[in-house]
C-alpha cells in the first residue's frame, strides 16, 4: 500500500488547503479515501456523529501535480484512512508560500501521513518542515461503512440563498434557539424559523429556484405531484447547520438542499473541483 503526492502550484495548494479547512470545521475525525483518480473525505452517519453524514469528493488531477497510489490489493485499488482533518489543515496552513508540498503515507513507528513542506529561505538550502499526522488504516472488511450515500427520496429540492446571508441569519438565530426549522416548497420559497418561549423569528427567502432532477425510471417521484405551495420542513440542530455554513470559505458554483419532510436535510455544495454533500437528520 503506497501513497505519494506532490503539489507545486500555489493556487492548487491554496485551494486544497481551503478544502481541508472546510472539512476540519465539519468533523473532528473522518475517513480519507484514496483512489487512483479521486480523494474523498467521508463521515458516515453513525449515531456517534449525531447522525450527520458527510461526503466530499475531489478529483486529484485538479490539485496534485503528482499523485501515485497503490491500494490494498489489485482488485481493491483503494486506501481508507482514519484521520483528524484539523491536523492536515494545520500542516498546510503555514505552507502558503511553499515551493512544494509532498504528502506520503509512511509507517515508521505507526502509520502516518507525512506532509513535507519545502519553504524558501534566505540560505542556500530550502527550509523543510515535516508534519507527521498519525492515521488509522481502515481494513477492507470495514469499507462498506463508507459507501457513497444515495440521494434521499426528497419532498422538495431547492437552491440555497447566498451562503453568506444564510450564515449571518443562522448565526444570530443560534443565540436564541438550539434548533431551527428549514422549510421550502417547489415555488422557490424557503423559510428559516426558530421558535422559543419568548420569541419566534422567521426569515423568508423567495425566488430561489428549484433544481430539476431527472428521475431514473421515467416516472416522476412524489415530488412532481406535490402542490407547489406546500412546504416540506425539517427541524434540525442549528449548530450543525451553522458549522456547515461557517466552514465555507469559497462560494460554491451551485448550492442546493433536498428536504425529506421531518426526516433529513441533504445539502449539496458544488464547486468546480470539489463536491460536498452534508446530511443533517431531523431532530426527534
Amino acid at each position: 500500500m503506497r501513497f505519494r503526492a506532490k503539489i507545486v502550484d500555489l493556487a492548487c495548494l491554496n485551494h486544497f488547503s481551503r478544502v481541508t479547512n472546510t472539512i476540519a470545521k465539519l468533523a473532528r475525525t473522518c475517513t480519507l479515501r484514496l483512489t487512483a483518480r479521486k480523494l474523498y473525505f467521508i463521515l458516515s452517519d453513525k449515531v456517534a456523529n449525531g447522525g450527520v453524514g458527510m461526503w466530499c469528493e475531489l478529483c486529484q488531477g485538479n490539485f496534485f501535480d503528482e499523485f501515485q497510489m497503490e491500494g490494498v490489493a489489485a482488485e481493491h485499488n483503494e486506501i481508507y484512512l482514519e484521520i483528524v482533518p484539523e491536523n492536515l489543515s494545520r500542516a498546510l496552513k503555514t505552507a502558503q508560500s511553499a515551493k512544494a508540498v509532498k504528502i506520503k503515507l509512511t509507517n515508521k513507528h505507526c502509520p502516518c501521513l507525512r506532509v513535507a513542506v519545502e519553504l524558501p529561505s534566505l540560505s542556500s538550502s530550502s527550509r523543510i518542515v515535516t508534519h507527521d499526522i498519525p492515521v488509522g488504516v481502515i481494513p477492507r472488511r470495514l469499507w462498506n461503512d463508507f459507501r457513497e450515500p444515495s440521494v434521499p427520496d426528497f419532498d422538495v429540492s431547492i437552491y440555497l440563498p447566498a451562503l453568506k446571508t444564510m450564515k449571518s441569519v443562522v448565526e444570530r438565530m443560534k443565540n436564541l434557539s438550539n434548533s431551527i426549522v428549514i422549510e421550502a416548497n417547489l415555488s422557490g420559497e424557503m423559510n428559516l424559523k426558530i421558535e422559543t418561549d419568548l420569541v419566534c423569528v422567521t426569515t423568508h427567502f423567495k425566488d430561489l429556484g428549484n433544481p430539476p432532477w431527472a428521475s431514473e425510471d421515467g416516472c416522476q417521484s412524489s415530488a412532481q405531484d406535490r402542490d407547489l405551495e406546500s412546504m416540506a420542513e425539517a427541524c434540525i440542530d442549528i449548530k450543525k447547520l451553522q458549522q456547515l455554513l461557517a466552514g465555507q470559505q469559497v462560494n460554491p458554483t451551485k448550492a442546493l438542499c433536498n428536504i425529506v419532510s421531518k426526516r433529513i436535510v441533504h445539502f449539496v455544495l458544488l464547486h468546480e473541483d470539489v463536491s460536498l454533500q452534508y446530511f443533517i437528520p431531523a431532530l426527534a
Binding site: 490494498v72 491536523n87 503555514t94 502509520p111 527550509r127 515535516t130 498519525p134 477492507r140 470495514l142
Partner: protein, 348 residues
C-alpha cells in the same frame, strides 16, 4: 534600570537591563540610604494595565515619566499625552530581595545566534498552544525544532512537526553535534515578538538537558536575558556516545522506511481470526519513544538547595551597568526542571 520576573513554577526567568542612555533622562536618586539600591516589586497586572493598548499609546503619549516615591511606597507612572492630558498611575510597590537566576553561559557547550526573524518564522509552524519544543543539532549541519510529545499514549495520536534550519541561516553556530534540549515554547514567544520588533539578533546558549537554556538579546543600551528550564534527559545524562543521539535526529530524506505492505498484510489476515499478535485497527503498534524519558517532577529540592547556594552570589547589580549578568556559575546539572531563581536571603 533592571526589570525582572520569574514565573510561579520558577522555571522561567527574564531580565531586562536598560542603560541610562535608553532613557531621555535617568536619575538614580538615592534610596533611603545613601548608595543603597532601591529594589521593589510591583504587581504585573497593575503595571501592564498602564500600558494596555500599545497602538493608542503610540498615538497619544508624548512622554512617560516613571518615578519612585519610597516614602509613600508608590511607583508613579505618569503619561503625558496630547492635548495637555496627563494620566498619573500610582502603583503600590513592595520592597523585595534580589531576584537572580543562577546560570553561566560561559560554561555552556552550545550556542547559536540568529536574526529574530528566522526564529519567529520557524515557530509559526507550531500550534500557538504548544507547550514544549525540542531544539537540536542534527546531522548535515542542520538545526532542528520539533514539538515535544509527552507520553507514549499521546505519541500515536499527536501530529509531530519538525522543522530544519540550515546552519547558514544563523549568524553564528557553535553546537555540539547531536545535542538537544527541550523547553517551553510559550515562554519564548514573548521574547521573540520583542526581538523582532527591536530588530535584534537572538543568541541561544544551551548545554546538557536539565541545565537551563539562555536566550540573550544585546544592544548598546539594552541587555535581555530569558532563562528557561529544560527537560532533563535521564538516559542521555548517562554518558551516551554522541552517535546514538545523532541517530535520533535523522535528517529528512526522501526514502522513508515504508512498511505498510507488511502492516496491511498483517491487518488483512486478522479478519479471519482474532489474532492477538496483530495490531488491531485503528489502534497502532506502539511507537518506540525516544530514549529520553522526561522527569518533570520537582524532586529533592532540598538536595538542590545544597548544590545551589541559598546566599546571594557576590556579584551585585549597580544601577548603571551594562556588564555581564553572569554570576559565578554553579557547575553540575540540576537534575530536574525546577528552581532557578533563588530569592537571596538577608542583606549583603
Amino acid at each position: 534600570l533592571s526589570l525582572r520576573a520569574v514565573n510561579s513554577s520558577r522555571s522561567a526567568f527574564a531580565s531586562f537591563l536598560l542603560a541610562p542612555l535608553f532613557f531621555q533622562l535617568y536619575e538614580a536618586g538615592g534610596g533611603r540610604h545613601d548608595g543603597e539600591l532601591c529594589r521593589c516589586k510591583v504587581l504585573m497586572k497593575s503595571f501592564l494595565g498602564v500600558f494596555r493598548s500599545l497602538p493608542s499609546l503610540e498615538k497619544t503619549v508624548e512622554k512617560c515619566l516613571i518615578l519612585l516615591k519610597p516614602r509613600s511606597s508608590r511607583l508613579v507612572v505618569q503619561l503625558h499625552c496630547k492635548h495637555g492630558v496627563t494620566k498619573t498611575h500610582n502603583l503600590a510597590f513592595q520592597e523585595c530581595e534580589r531576584l537572580q537566576a543562577v546560570f553561566d553561559t560561559q560554561s555552556y557547550s552550545s550556542s547559536l545566534c540568529a536574526p529574530a526573524r528566522v526564529l519567529a518564522d520557524a515557530v509559526v509552524h507550531f500550534a500557538p498552544t504548544l507547550a514544549e519544543v525540542t531544539l537540536g543539532a542534527g546531522p548535515g549541519d542542520k538545526i532542528s525544532l520539533r514539538n515535544y510529545v509527552e507520553d507514549e499514549a499521546e505519541a500515536n495520536k499527536t501530529m509531530v512537526t519538525e522543522l530544519w534550519l540550515a546552519e547558514d541561516e544563523f549568524q553564528a553556530v557553535a553546537v555540539t553535534p547531536g545535542s538537544q534540549i527541550t523547553f517551553c515554547l510559550k515562554e519564548l514567544r514573548g521574547l521573540l515578538t520583542f526581538a523582532e520588533a527591536s530588530n535584534l539578533p537572538l543568541t541561544i546558549h544551551y548545554d546538557v538537558p536539565g541545565r537551563p537554556v539562555v536566550f540573550t538579546l544585546d544592544d548598546a543600551v539594552l541587555e535581555v536575558h530569558l532563562v528557561l528550564a529544560t527537560l532533563s534527559d535521564l538516559e542521555s545524562s548517562l554518558q551516551r556516545p554522541p552517535t546514538n543521539n545523532v541517530s535520533n535526529l535523522a535528517a529528512p530524506s526522501d526514502d522513508f522506511a515504508d512498511d505498510l505492505e507488511s502492516y496491511m498484510i498483517a491487518l488483512e489476515t486478522s479478519t479471519d481470526q482474532e489474532a492477538s499478535g496483530v495490531p488491531p485497527s485503528p489502534t497502532f503498534p506502539l511507537r518506540t519513544q525516544r530514549p529520553a524519558e522526561s522527569n518533570q517532577e520537582e524532586e529533592e529540592e532540598d538536595e538542590d538547595e545544597a548544590a545551589v547556594p541559598g546566599t546571594p552570589p557576590h556579584k551585585k547589580f549597580r544601577s548603571l551597568f551594562f556588564g555581564s549578568v553572569l554570576t559565578p556559575g554553579e557547575p553540575g546539572p540540576a537534575p530536574t526542571q525546577e528552581v532557578l531563581a533563588e530569592d537571596s536571603e538577608g542583606e549583603y
